[in-house]
Structure formats: C-alpha cells, structure tokens
C-alpha cells in the first residue's frame, strides 16, 4: 500500500470585500485550530510537514488556505483585466472571513513572512478572536533589502526570477531537498502575483502598536538567523514595542522555517504550540 498523507484538501466559498471567491484549504489533525498563513507568492503547501507531524496533529487541527490568486484558490471573476494588489485591509478581511466560514473557535494564527507581518496586526487589532498569534519571520514594518523601483520592471512576471530573488533567504544549513521545494513554490506562482503581495509587504503593512495597547492575545515572533528580510533584530525590536510580545531567534534558520527545514523547525515550534494545546 502506497503511503497516503493525512492531509485533506477542500474548497470553501467566501465573500470578501463584496466579491465571491473559491478558496482552497488543507487540513490535518484534531484539537486546537492552528490557522496557517503562507508567504508572498507561495501557497499552503508550505505547511505540509507540520500537518504530517503526529506530535502536532494529535493536539492541533492544522489548517492552511491559499490566498485568492494563489495556489488552487481562484482570483475573482473578471481577473483578466485586473491588477492584483494585496492590501492590509483585504488581507485581514480574508483571514477573518475564512476563520468565520470554518467556525474556528479562537484559533492560533501563525503566518510566515507577510503572514508574520499580518499576524502582528491581527494580534493587536483582533487579538480577542485568537488564542495566540505566531509571526514567523514577521515584524511590524518592512526592512527593505532591494529597491522598490524593481517593482516597476517586468521581471516579477517570471517564476525563475521570483525564485532567484528569494533563494538566498533560505538558509544554507537547510536540507537541499526542502530548500528547493520551497523555491519551487515561487516558480509556481502566477505571473506578477508575488509582486502584488509586495504591495502589502512593502507599502501597506507597517503597523505601529499604540503605546497604550498591548496584544489581547499572546504574540510570539520567531525569526531565523539567516533571514535578512526579517532579521532576528527586527523580531526583537517589534516584540519590544508591543507589551507582552516575545521574540525567539532560530539558529541556522532562514526565511521559510516550516518548509525549508521542517526537522529543525519542529524543535522550535513544538514547545511554543504546546503552551496553547487544550
């Protein structure tokens, strides 16, 4: 009998910002819902290792969806004449609409990169809806390492460019197989979709917590030492600005912990997740 993974994929119909979307999601496990958000220009497969880890799935219902325009989720009807540009408002609306549609009860939200950036916003503005927020390679504002004028080029239409642009963000210590699978997701991305995500990441994601407000839910920022897009220092700086937030540095890790080095990542994430298992 061939090995069949425990991951199950389905589609849910959502209305977001007045438009209809058909959203693909995957899940595995039972227990506290763990809602996972993929990186820019990628899709939910980044979390496949977590879903297949019995130590995780015995206590957590791990759920990850493809954002509209990504993976197997559709763009809206009429996409062919629209330019995709992710905004903070649409991103938050999408996550909350998905969580509501699946009737998730106070999930832990865990996002990576731009998903980590939005996790900070979710914790501070909607923290009462979540048990905890975990930002992987997430901070509260961009730390640009390339010039925004690159977004005016046509290069983002090409998967091989998007792949090469982010290739150095995966750590050299991560296994080649999983580092390359992570980069493959960038080759798969629809033309200019990574660029559309950069609209949020680069220009619409900065979030300064009110000095008097703290996150209503625990906020943990976990950052890899090889990540030069969101450095461990970015994580510590963000955590210091938000009362109750915590920063954890992951040694030997890059920008895509759950997919580039699942074995090393589980050593970091299991103790964090187990704080919140029921």
């Amino acid at each position: 009998m061939a090995e069949i993974e425990p991951i199950v994929g389905r589609y849910v119909k959502l209305k977001i910002a007045g438009e209809d979307y058909r959203i693909y999601f995957e899940e595995a496990g039972e227990g506290t819902p763990l809602l996972c958000l993929h990186t820019a220009g990628a899709h939910a497969s980044q979390f496949r290792h977590l879903m297949c880890d019995p130590e995780v799935s015995k206590n957590f219902r791990v759920i990850a969806f493809d954002l509209p325009w990504h993976g197997k989720s559709n763009p809206p009807v009429g996409w062919e004449t629209k330019e995709y540009k992710l905004t903070a408002e649409f991103y938050v609306d999408t996550i909350l609409a998905f969580s509501n549609a699946l009737a998730l009860e106070k999930p832990i939200v865990m996002g990576c990169s731009m998903g980590g950036r939005v996790a900070v916003r979710l914790a501070c503005l909607h923290g009462q809806k979540f048990s905890a927020a975990i930002g992987l390679e997430g901070s509260n504002r961009p730390s640009p390492w390339w010039d925004n004028s690159w977004l005016d080029t046509d290069f983002f239409a090409r998967g091989d460019f998007c792949e090469a642009l982010v290739s150095g963000l995966a750590a050299p210590t991560s296994p080649a197989e999983f580092r390359n699978e992570t980069l493959w997701h960038y080759r798969q991305s629809g033309s200019n979709i990574f660029k559309g995500d950069m609209h949020f990441f680069r220009t619409d994601s900065e979030f300064e917590a009110d000095a008097e407000s703290s996150s209503p839910c625990p906020l943990i920022l976990m950052t890899g030492e090889y990540d030069y897009s969101c450095t461990p220092e970015d994580g510590r700086r963000t955590a210091a600005a938000i009362p109750g937030a915590e920063a954890i540095e992951m040694k030997g890790m890059g920008h895509f912990p759950m997919s580039e080095n699942p074995t090393a990542f589980r050593e970091y994430i299991l103790p964090v997740l187990n704080r919140f298992s029921k």
Partner: protein, 118 residues
Amino acid sequence: MFESLASKANNNAHIRRLGRGCTTTFVLQVDNEQFHLNVDRGQITSVSQGPFQMRGSSFVISAAKDTWTEFMRPIPRPGFHDIFAMSATGNAKIEGDINILLGHLAYFKAVLDLLRKV
C-alpha cells in the same frame, strides 16, 4: 580568485542553459582589484584581472577579500551566504545596470554558487 569559474560554469549544462539568453560583461571586485567576466550566450569566454583604464561593464559586485572568502565557505555565516545578504548587511555593493543582473538572476546566482563548491 575567480580564474576557475569559467571552466566550472561552462562545463555545467544546467548553468549554460540558465544563461543562454545572457551576453554581457560583469565585474567581481575584491578590495580594489577588478575581475571582468565576459559572458556570451551563457558561456564565460574570458576572466580578466585588472587594473583597467575605464573598461566598461554592465554591473559590479564589490566586496572586501574577507567577505568573498566567507561567501566561499561551504556554510558561510549569516549575512555572507548570498550576494543580496552581503548587500543587505553592507558587506557588498552591487552597482551598475541592475536590470542585467535581475534579467539573468538565476544564472548569475548559479555561477557565483560555484565558488562554494569544492
């Protein structure tokens, strides 16, 4: 420092394929010493060491010798493991016609990765 790069890159069918649309001259600079690399449709046809008198090129990647040495280690330290990491951390400068670099980014990164392979 880069003399063996041509034969390694030219003997690698995958890398030649990545660069098949690339014809240019780019520069790798170590401290103040320049190496001009001529590329013709994915083949490195020459690696020339300066000094030069106003020889043109499309782009220059310059870093200190210690930075390049760290980049070439099998597992470089964080900040030295990729040309963009070196740029982000201030350990390297990338200047010139950035569009040539970006237009063939997978090729140039694969060529530079050869510096790391024994």
